[in-house]
Amino acid sequence: MTAPLLDIEGLRIEVERTGAAVVDDVSFQIRSGEFLAVVGESGSGKTVAARAVLGLLPPGLRRVSGRIVLDGKDLAKVSPKHLRALRGPAVGMVFQEPMVSLNPAISVGRQMAEGLSLHLRLPRQEIRARCLDMLARVQIRDPAHTFDAYPHEFSGGMRQRIMLASVMLLKPKLLIADEPTTALDTLTQREVLDLMVDLARDHGTSVVLITHNLGLVARYAQRAVVMQQGRLVETGAARQILSAPQQVYTRQLVEALPRRTTGAVRRSAGELLMSVSGLKVEFGGRRRFFQRKPGMRAVDGVDLDIHAGETVAVVGGSGSGKTTLGRAMLRLIPSAAGQVRFRGKDVPAVADRDFRLSSQLVFQDPYSSLDPRMRVGDIVAEPLRHVTGLSAGDRAKRVDRMLDEVGLAGFGGRWPHELSGGQRQRIAIARAIVRDPLFVVADEPVSALDMTIQAQVLKLFERLQVRYGFACLFISHDLAAVEQVADRVVVMQGGRIVEQGSRDDIFDRPQHDYTKALLAAAPVLDFGKPDEQRVRA
């Protein structure tokens, strides 16, 4: 066997000030042309470990011990100048956030050319030709135009392709991709990753994919490294790790993947609770003096019924209008046309008291949905202001019970910043449920959370729903979560509903092409065991 391309041994990285280990005794190798996944939750040190290869540690962190050998050279003994020369031609990196990893003030072409002109001495024409070739290779429609365009003209998926193109231009031996598709929707995610694999194969590049998504590991990686709190938990063949995890933590991760609850739809649908017809929402329309310029239709004529106690999931790619639909149904944003009926009564454009008090919203980002200057107990108590005939004692009791219900008994006196993301989301859920609503819109409630936390929060949500019997509009791009919680599924594309049906119908017998594409793009863990169902990740 040949020597590995990259050999990390006993790597330890500390916080300079406190000496706390961020990465502790981590060793792994990657061979030439191999696809390795580094898996872990936030705080596991996976990003820091990978960045150490390039010598790009965030300020305040320091490598204490360990060897990083790239292609026979020990990077610890290499001068910073030499290390800089390695970045690009030897090791390339693609970052998570395509919206901010390209410089908005420089044209795409110049950014791509930067690496080439820095590391290779080539005539301008040659550089341009190579860039155009590469842009065509990553399936950008009009390379010549793209070359002179600026980053803001492109969507997240396109930018990530441009990023990939500019990194691969230098034909690096090793490509480090740090959650490259986390900010993208499922369809785009698949396109970008497929491209990455193709390019890597063409150039013989090894890939380190840093991810929290086990589905991607199953689909793309040959080997996987599992990390937890800075330590290496398990390494081995990707299939092996996923189908027969040896360590407790790895098993937890695999088990945390959402699964379809066995049996058909959980409850028979109750009475008709909400009914939306012909709903349209427009953005950016401008009234001029005499004519009205039509805006972008985010929601374009949606009809939807929701029955008491059921969970209706809305799925679709980014820009499909699913978030807008949720807000418009709650009458939080003005709609251009259409009706919202709640319990047989028409809800006016400015929601009436009855509807406002019986509907609630759970947000995606638990970091911005809680007022940082209010204690947790006060946050949960706030909706009770509008419940009449409740004494201060009753109110406190109800808040305590609710906190207990979401597993955070005794947290009332804490501040939001003292809680983790998962705990914050529990508080947000408690706030939504405390007034016993009939209808809850949950807008990507678990997308911002770690895998194991996602599973806990989803389970909590389901339990609360059984207990309190509210109907839920579950907005998500995460098909796995949808498969676990939904009774019915609505598929949206371009502001319209293209297909709706029971969960099993949509997942097992999709009719519309867009639904099929969505399902195909979602990676699946399939271990080929007859007694175990397929798990979507």
Binding site: L332, Q360, S368, D371, P372, H386, H417, R431
Partner: protein
């Protein structure tokens, strides 16, 4: 709780200041207004610790007596500007639309005037007395408070907890007062402490132009202003009030910083 050096030094300076002002209300070494032409421009001595001014009045007594006036005027002015400015800023940033456009148009017009000119105009209308100064300087400083608050409010109003408040069924006014306002005040605390200094100086500028607190009542501002011709021959006249202004500013700034940190739950444990 651990008390930081900031808080300790700031607290000490302001404590001394308040103690002085209170003492001066009952007792000063000499009557700050008594003219004694035989003791004109005496340098500091055992009798007159900080010397005497051009009318033979005791500088120490006048500095002590001026502390109350100067600091009261500055404090009231800042309070007035911050309360009105923050209220307008929150409303204009939160409500947007026509309200925003009208308030900001007036505000920007006021901002275009030099503050002191604006204050002069107001002083001429309301007359030269303590409350005239508070009103005049307050009005002159409101526009910058409005600008700063509106800027923060524009970002705060897009936060999801504001939408959450709306979903709960809270009125717009309640959301503004309970969620938007407290979260928009951190930059105001910083602005207010620096404003305190500007006001102390602006008051002296007004006095210099003959529109401040009318003589013979002492303020640090008018003491500083009247000491100007004697800068070379009797430097002690300007040193005493000047040093007082400087130390007060230092104290207020230190205290303001620690107050801002203390009020923010995210910083309170640092």
């Amino acid at each position: 709780m651990k008390i930081r050096a900031n808080t300790a030094i700031g607290g000490f300076l302001i404590g001394v200041l308040v103690a002085t002002a209170v003492t001066a209300a009952f007792w000063t070494p000499f009557d700050p207004l008594r003219v004694n032409l035989r003791a004109r421009l005496q340098p500091p001595s055992a009798l007159y610790w900080l010397g005497t001014d051009e009318f033979g009045r005791d500088v120490l007594s006048r500095t002590m007596a001026g502390a109350g006036t100067s600091v009261t005027v500055a404090f009231l002015t800042v309070a007035f500007a911050v309360v009105i400015g923050a209220a307008l800023g929150v409303v204009t940033g939160y409500v947007r639309g026509w309200t925003d456009r009208v308030i900001m148009a007036v505000n920007d017009a006021l901002l275009a005037f030099p503050g002191i000119l604006l204050a002069l105009g107001v002083m001429i209308v309301v007359g030269a007395n303590k409350f005239g100064i508070v009103l005049a300087l307050g009005l002159a400083y409101i526009p910058s408070v409005v600008r700063v608050v509106r800027g923060t409010v524009l970002s705060i109003r897009e936060k999801e907890y504001i939408e959450a408040s709306r979903v709960i069924g809270n009125s717009e006014f309640y959301s503004m007062a309970r969620h938007v306002l407290p979260n928009s005040l951190a930059p105001v605390a910083v602005l207010a402490t620096s404003m305190f200094g500007w006001v102390l100086l602006a008051e002296s500028a007004l006095s210099f132009l003959g529109l401040g607190v009318p003589p013979p009542a002492p303020t640090w501002g008018n003491m500083l202003a009247s000491s100007r011709p004697y800068m070379e021959s009797a430097a002690w006249l300007s040193i005493a009030p000047g040093l007082c202004i400087a130390l007060t500013l230092l104290g207020i700034n230190l205290l303001g910083d620690s107050l801002r940190d203390r009020l923010d739950p995210r910083m309170a444990h640092g």
